[in-house]
Symmetry: C2
Subunit: 309 residues, 2 copies
Amino acid sequence: MSLLTVGSVAFDAIETPFGKTDKIIGGAATYISLAASFFEKNQRIVAVVGDDFPQAMIDTLSSRGVDLAGLQIKQGEKSFFWSGKYHNDMNTRDTLITELNVLEHFDPIIPAEYQRTEYLMLGNLSPQVQKLVVERLTERPKLIAMDTMNFWMDIALEDLKQTLSMIDLLIINDEEARQLSGESSLVKASKVIRAMGPKYLIIKKGEHGALLFHEEQIFAAPALPLEEVFDPTGAGDTFAGGFMGYIASTNDISFENMKRAIIAGSALASFCVEKFGTEKLTNISQSDMENRIQQFVSLANFEMTYQAD
Amino acid sequence: MSLLTVGSVAFDAIETPFGKTDKIIGGAATYISLAASFFEKNQRIVAVVGDDFPQAMIDTLSSRGVDLAGLQIKQGEKSFFWSGKYHNDMNTRDTLITELNVLEHFDPIIPAEYQRTEYLMLGNLSPQVQKLVVERLTERPKLIAMDTMNFWMDIALEDLKQTLSMIDLLIINDEEARQLSGESSLVKASKVIRAMGPKYLIIKKGEHGALLFHEEQIFAAPALPLEEVFDPTGAGDTFAGGFMGYIASTNDISFENMKRAIIAGSALASFCVEKFGTEKLTNISQSDMENRIQQFVSLANFEMTYQAD
């Protein structure tokens, strides 16, 4: 099947307790497409960069099956740039610099050949832009997933609610779920959020894994316990990309298959945090990924046979 | 097989955001024995109470297969009493009152008929008392598990380390694991702690489930996502009791069986928090428990079949 990703393709500069980077490649759509490419070879992207964006990364995406007709390259403009510093616990970070640049007036133009897209992943962007994309697709995808963040809840909650009413699956973290719902119990939060539109909700809990909610069903996936998280940047997008790549490649949106997709996303996210930025993701093989998925099988699965004595 | 539990049998008074209790039955050994009784019908207890302890609870334990020859009843003395108040997030609590009473000079006398005990659970007590129990058993149990808490790390770390060197399995929470090891990564913490003696380590993470570590293997069990935690008191002991009851009744200490035992303990702990104290545990049936275990199977298990397109 085909997967269309809309989101930022950008530069990041990252500082963690383990070191710091200069400007490196980042952006939600970059991580999503790279992660999805381990499963889905028919990908499209709608994004915008300036003329400062390196051709090498564009070639990397292209070589991994990502069609780039939807990548706008704005001459004389600069790509989106974010810089942040993680605290010692790696769970919180300060944003040091946000330069919107080309993202400020991003008009998500959908190339005609993208119209028949079965799966759509809306990376974290303004909810108005996310909504525009859904409206511009003449045929509704089989599954529309989206990410968002607390920033949009603070400044554009009504727009966000409108966009939420149009999608199928929201993928956010626990803190965002609590803010969006006003509930501290994630079970209660999941009901409030699903009442806003999405029939499916994934709540990411970082080192504690992820929860999938749909009707009365819940699936709890662990994260791989790691000695060290080197750089969490992009882990959430990598998770979403692995998830949607798996769903698109299997073309199956059953709850059982979404469980497998969460494990696929979790496996890729566990690689992402081992190095700065996209470094690890671009250096692992298909079999590294498959071995990591097997680690999740041993980590989480058990066979329950109960016999009292 | 047989399971011997050593620990407090006591009174608690609990205040949570949902209400407060007068003096109710509590104590680590109480929760452990009640939980274990869902699996193991051959149980023993070594504990001490005052003459204020209600016969009704003693009868309840007895009717569930707990031999009480090792329960010392001190005439003219009072049972251990703890009172605490949970904060709004239910993850932290303040101790309001601790009256050691009979626990102050507790001498854990092992009745002769308890000498051949295959499984031993050392509930949270002073590490010296825990050590005495191990030394007084002439035949070493097949598996010795223990709980402890930060209090003993603060005031009796050397004693605690001695006791740890004599046991097989330590069951503590994430905060305690971090304090005991001095490591914030739980994977690193598990290595430091296992180097102190126990070949197996379970780290309880509350609403995020539990991790089991042994050699290079890790198992991650989820907790049941709940709308509301009414009273967390005794959940950790209930988990340990369910775990050890399952292990004793199946008489199998393989890693695969420990996974199942963790699910059994998690299922019982998920009941415990639904009411104050032991109320829920004493009111559920064997089939309630089995249904809850099935909920964990759907919650955590997935079947991984990976086919790229």
